[in-house]
Amino acid sequence: MVHILDVMEKALEGKPISENDYQLKLFADKVNEKVREHGIKFDRNEVIPSDNSLADDIYRAAVELLVEVGAYCTDTSRIISYSEEEIKGALRNAPKEIWLGEGKERKRLAPRKIEDKSPPWCFLGAGGGACSSDRSFTTLVEGYAEIPEINAITTPALTRVGGMRIRPASPLELLGAMRNAVYAREACNRVGRPGLPLMNSLSTAESDIALAAALHPRYGIRASDGFLICCMDPMKVDFNRLNKVTVVLSMGAPIGTCFGPLMGGYSGGPESTAVSNVAHHLMGVLTYQSSWLLPFPLHLRYVSSSSREMLWIISVTGQAISRNTDLISLNLNYTSAGPTTPMCLFETSASVTAAVVSGLSIESVGVASNKEEDRTTPVEPRISAEVAHAVAGMKRSDANGMVNELLSKYESKLASPPLGKTLFECWDPERRRPSPEYQKVIRKFKKDMAEIGLDLRPEP
């Protein structure tokens, strides 16, 4: 069993190498070599493949990749190596379930199987997207907490405190992280769901000190929340992140590692990005001591996860993990388009379907690439959750047909997507519902979904 002290020992004693050589010469070469060795091929027409052997090949390639390249510590400029036995031991010892939340919101999060009929865990909200004010933060979280299918909240991130833009590892970031905790909990209280877990608790805390500062009990964060720690691409870690790991371990709380291999970046094309994505799962359990994993592979150019290649990567990753491990994995999706656009809703439907039928749960959703402040509403994660529940149990071949139909509605617009409206332009915080214009878009979207075979909850 690899513990945090073992990780540190490896980070201090591993083979020295420059960061550039690790990622350009070692990682990039090796991931492509593994794709070639295992004959892994992306098929544009089968974005949700039904071929189990493809998933198993990707898994095997990922194990070999991790054994042969290891993780990389940027603070010591050394490789953190793992043997195959250590990987197998970590997988054996990884939790087979975790319980999150309090009171009636306390729920079991467990791994899913391919074409599983059980509804996925719905971790809903902004995916750490930026929001400009305390008002937009609480409006969003209140809206998320009222989504019927919600199991956990993913809060936005505050960008300002006291009118000042947050600076990294400064008192502003610490105060922002404290506010993040207080406002999120208060928003859940206001809608009568105080026990909902905040699974990305403290998204405003990028630095270790901000995370630690906001964990004081007076701010309301609990060990039954989730704690996301983001990995640097590809398979890198630093002391800031290992400090976060150490702090959360000391609370006895479950750590989630998030990682977003970029297709077109160090991981290369779709096949090698899929292998990298699976390898990050295994690396996260070891290096980041994770109990659950959160992949969010993104397209380098579109900064979203709804293109044909990305849907394939989501699907084969889910299938590889689900068939070969008992790891708990939730895919976070990003859309290119923004609120009030049909495209945004079609994109999130496609990504969520690819994840759910392939054995994953979901975090949803980063809207309009999560680039702009307040360009997100409670509608988009609500639609994601409705789709996620509706497609649970769907056959992969049927899902492939549906997703291809969805792609035909937006694929040509990915390079120049409509950004739609911002929060208060299309969401009424007093009446807790979308604007009449957005309601019309949602009704039309649901009609279109019914026409391609997926009935969603009728809109009021």
Partner: protein, 215 residues
Amino acid sequence: MGKDDAITELRSAVLEYDSDAAVRAAKAAIRQKIDPMIMVDEALVPAINEVGDKFEKMEIFLPDLMLAADAVKASMALILPLMAKDYQTSKATVVVATVQGDVHEIGKNIIASMLMARGFNVIDMGVDVKTTLLIDEAKKSRAKIICASALMSSTMGSQKDIIDYATALGDRKRYAILVGGGPTSREWADEIKADGWGKDANGAIKLADKFSGRR
């Protein structure tokens, strides 16, 4: 090996992302007394432009782009001392960095490689670069352009710090300060009085071209 072969080998080395081969080819070309300007204009520039175009179309990926840029850099280290002193080998010097407090490097690496591919002299300062060091380097290297990348909403403020610091030193007009990165926007660039906002790598290159000859 003829002169044409030497130029072809140098070009091929860049297209094959091979620094060692680029150095060997450059040495061979130098031994044959090929005009260094021909090495640059007929081998390196067309090759790196081709690589940049392929990257834009996603026919190749980031590691290839960076390795090709490394190959150009390695061969230029041999070729540059042989060039006439008044020969303008690059469009301008650009200092590229990810801002203080931010360790995300992919966007910065893409910009650095694309700028190099388009003929700029690029000084890549890495990630989490202290504001004062960034401006000091720009001053020391007589840069015309500073490209400051930030990927986190919590680190965008460091872009404003760069502009404020340059202004406080009385050096603001010496540099075009361009900002970019995930959470940034044209409005943000306007708010902090940056000279431009690169929506993506192409946008940044266009801006760098625009400001290359101005200061």
